[in-house]
């Protein structure tokens, strides 16, 4: 294993019966990286992030987070990471403050610190104006912000985010991005999956692309771009030929080979 990496996997595999969702991937994420993990629907992104955060046991392979074997030291690893999983993991019948206070204590903070940080985070996330509102009555975007607040309340060194910007408005997205960039500046590592490639391109320094359970690309965004641009441009796409840099979307589409179907029409669709 690469001991210098914050996140390191070795032949990480997950099977569901005969189906291999994640097929022997070797990930390397260094300290301070803003790492984007991309892939088409069903490629294995969420399965991977669940395995990296201890929410799903791998079928085989090894995971090291901050130099600790996740299987051998789950509690020690969990103390140093924050997670916003797919379903957000909230408790609907608590208020935002109560949930953050609860989360802080579950992550080992003392009562005073948990309470202070809960108030601070509610303020920062602009969720403090309706203190009596239950989480179940929050809008989707508010729930995302609350889940994010709960994931960082203990000051994690590594943050895992599964689609953090899904359903979040531009103002809230700006708040979240500012917070995440602040964390990176202070040396934290962030691992996120997102389908919004523009956001990934703007935020992430490093990217990995998973397709059909296999890692098909990994590295610094510039390295990936250079690698793809060096290949022969796809006829008719006109990419790279005019000297323009490839966008992440173009890199992604070329890497996973996912050209849009234009030959098929849904004639019944008005």
């Amino acid at each position: 294993m690469d001991t210098a990496s914050t996140i390191c996997t070795q032949r990480l595999t997950r099977r569901f019966g005969d189906f291999i969702a994640v097929d022997g991937i070797d990930l390397r994420v260094s300290r301070g990286q803003f790492f984007g993990f991309l892939g088409p629907n069903g490629a294995g992104k969420s399965t991977t992030i669940k395995m990296l955060t201890g929410l799903l046991a791998p079928s085989s392979g090894r995971i090291e987070i901050l130099g600790l074997d996740l299987a051998a030291h789950p509690v020690e690893v969990k103390q140093q990471i924050g997670v916003v999983p797919e379903g957000m993991a909230l408790f609907g019948r608590l208020t935002g403050y109560e949930f953050l206070n609860f989360a802080g204590r579950m992550y080992g903070l003392d009562r005073e610190t948990a309470a202070k940080r809960a108030v601070e985070l509610l303020d920062f996330m602009q969720l403090a104006d309706q203190p009596k509102k239950l989480v179940t009555d929050y809008s989707h975007g508010m729930q995302k912000k609350l889940a994010m607040a709960a994931a960082v309340i203990h000051g994690p060194k590594v943050l895992f985010l599964d689609e953090p910007f899904e359903g979040v408005d531009a103002i809230a997205a700006g708040t979240l991005k500012a917070m995440l960039q602040g964390m990176i500046a202070r040396g934290a590592t962030i691992f996120l999956t997102s389908h919004v490639l523009e956001i990934v391109e703007r935020l992430c320094s490093h990217v990995a692309i998973i397709h059909q359970g296999r890692l098909v690309a990994q590295g610094a965004l510039e390295e990936l771009r250079a690698g793809v641009e060096a290949q022969t441009p796809v006829p008719g796409e006109g990419l790279g030929s005019s000297g323009e840099r490839l966008t992440l979307e173009q890199i992604f589409l070329r890497t996973v080979g996912g050209m849009r179907r234009t030959d098929q029409e849904l004639s019944w669709l008005g």
Partner: protein
């Protein structure tokens, strides 16, 4: 409605029936699904036995009532059916099997279809099945005694069944609505407190009536008898009796009045369902004005001697429960049970040596305390059901599952202690103070039963979880495996405790039972500790299934 409209509605309803069938078939793909079906079959076999036995009994009674020319006495059968139909679904929510139909509102379902679907979903309930079976028994009894009366009785009992079905749904829909809003929840809380206070008046009132000369009691009974005649069970009995006596016109009036009840209750249900159909939000926080932020720091709760995560989980559970009206309503059911046993028909029977608490006040405290524990089974046997996708948080955070489960157990044990104290006070008011021996035996027995239930409940919460919405009322589906095993545990606990009392009686020393129960409690507590010690491993092994089941939309 146009023919095309009917066809579209028929198509939607058949699509809903088909999707329910496919959901059932697909659930059998997993071993858990198959086990659930087996458990469901066993539970339903039990209900079928009670249903068929009851139907035979009701049928026999109905046969004799009609044969003896006293069909008006059918009211003695219809009232218990009515009470069972309405009370059982609240008292035994674990058996509820009503899927939530509100998901269907995503589709362009017209309102009448939604109303029908809601009624059909509500009909998949043991109370409805048993009530219908018993009504069928009455129909057969009447038909055998007087075949000419069969079609009319069928019509009357159909109206009676429709009334019960619609009434049950109406109660659920409105109670859910009242419990969802803080203002109405508070009003209901005040009403409940008044009820508790009025319980204090029951003993003096009972004394007053039992010491009155018989004519006064008879006058009171006469008022009750006359009053019940204009209510649905009484109307149904009268409709049959009047037609049996060839008073066709009054018979039709009674049936008409019964149908009017169905329509009136149906209208009340319609008001609620229409609001749901139009997309009402039961939340009262959304509409609340923005409040100035409370800047004072509110610290989380602390439980002396217990780890911080245990206290945090305890606080979370208590706060969640206090905002879950339907669950609170279930928890106060033991008090209603005591009142029913004290003043219900079973207490007015003149059998000697029966085990009904109304006849044996000494049994009231153990029975009510036992029922208090039973009302907790929804929580104890499905610890994580109310957490939904929050279960992922428990797996993602560094807290041990042992602490999380302990926090939940402390919550449930605290509720049990409070319920037992309240029940004890209620027993004193209604039946008189239980003896020291019975109180001690009950408390030790409760300790034993609680430890066994918590141990098995902790395991089943992980082995057989089911997502549970604390805010929904009568629209839940419990895991049938859990229902079956929890029933088995109760039989085992009651059997063991009963054996202890039998041994004590055999040796003529009631304290022997206490000693045996104490020994059993110690063993059960040891088993509980062992379960808790291994719960992290069990939770880890079943993580995937637990998360998948509870995060399911």
């Amino acid at each position: 409605m146009t023919k095309a409209g009917f066809t579209a509605r028929g198509s939607q309803l058949s699509a809903i029936a088909w999707v329910r069938w496919r959901l059932f078939v697909n659930s059998l793909r997993t071993t858990r699904g198959k086990l659930d079906l087996v458990s469901r079959s066993v539970v339903w076999l039990g209900f079928a036995t009670v249903g068929i036995g009851g139907a035979a009994g009701m049928g026999t009674a109905a046969f004799f009532f009609v044969r003896e020319g006293r069909p008006g006495l059918l009211t003695l059968l219809l009232w218990p059916i009515f009470f069972f139909w309405q009370v059982f679904p609240i008292m035994a929510t674990a058996f509820a099997n009503n899927p939530d139909s509100s998901d269907l509102l995503h589709f362009p379902l017209n309102y009448s279809s939604y109303f029908l679907v809601r009624l059909a979903y509500g009909a998949a309930d043991p109370a409805t099945a048993l009530g219908s079976l018993w009504s069928f028994g009455i129909l057969m009894g009447v038909g055998l005694a007087k075949p000419g009366l069969l079609p009319w009785t069928l019509l009357v009992l159909l109206a009676f069944a429709a009334f019960n079905l619609v009434f049950m749904q109406m109660i659920f829909a409105w109670v859910e609505r009242w419990l969802a809003r803080r203002r109405t929840r508070e009003v209901m809380g005040v009403l409940f407190l008044l009820l508790l206070l009025s319980v204090q008046l029951i003993a003096p009132l009972t004394g007053y009536f039992t010491t009155r000369p018989r004519p006064a009691v008879h006058r009171f009974a006469e008022i009750l008898i006359q009053g019940q005649k204009i209510l649905p069970p009484g109307l149904a009995a009268r409709a049959v009796a009047q037609v049996s006596a060839s008073h066709l016109r009054t018979g039709f009036y009674s049936l008409g009045l019964l149908c009017a009840f169905v329509l009136a209750i149906g209208y009340c249900l319609h008001v609620r369902l229409l609001a749901q159909y139009r997309g009402e939000s039961l939340s009262d926080t959304a509409a609340r004005p923005v409040l100035p932020q409370d800047r004072s720091l509110r610290l989380g709760w602390n439980l002396p001697g217990l780890a911080s995560p245990v206290a945090a989980v305890f606080e979370k559970e208590i706060r969640s429960l206090l905002r879950s009206g339907p669950m609170l309503l279930t928890l106060i059911m033991p008090l209603f049970m005591l009142i029913i046993f004290r003043f219900g028909p079973m207490n007015s029977a003149r059998q000697v040596g029966t085990a009904v608490p109304g006849h044996s006040p000494g049994l009231a405290f153990p029975a009510a305390a036992g029922f208090a524990l039973l009302t907790l089974t929804n929580l104890v046997y499905n610890n994580f059901g109310g957490d939904g996708s929050g279960i992922q948080f428990f797996y993602a955070c560094p807290a041990r599952f042992r602490d999380i489960v302990l926090g939940k157990n402390v919550t449930h044990a605290s509720i049990l202690v409070i319920e037992t104290a309240v029940v004890w006070l209620a027993v004193i008011s209604l039946f008189g103070k239980p003896t020291v021996n019975i109180t001690i035996a009950t408390l030790i027995g409760l300790l034993f039963a609680a430890a066994v239930n918590l141990s098995v409940g902790n395991l089943l919460s992980i082995y057989s979880p089911k997502k549970f919405d604390y805010s929904a009322f009568g629209r839940q589906r419990a895991s049938q495996i859990t229902v079956l095993i929890s029933m088995g545990v109760q039989v085992l606990v009651v059997g063991t405790a009963g054996s202890a009392f039998w041994i004590a009686r055999h040796y003529g020393n009631s304290w022997i039972a206490n000693l045996i129960l104490l020994l059993l409690a110690v063993i059960a507590l040891y088993a509980y500790r062992a379960v808790l010690r291994h719960i992290d491993r069990v939770a880890q092994e079943h993580q995937e299934m637990l998360v998948a089941e509870l995060c399911r939309a």
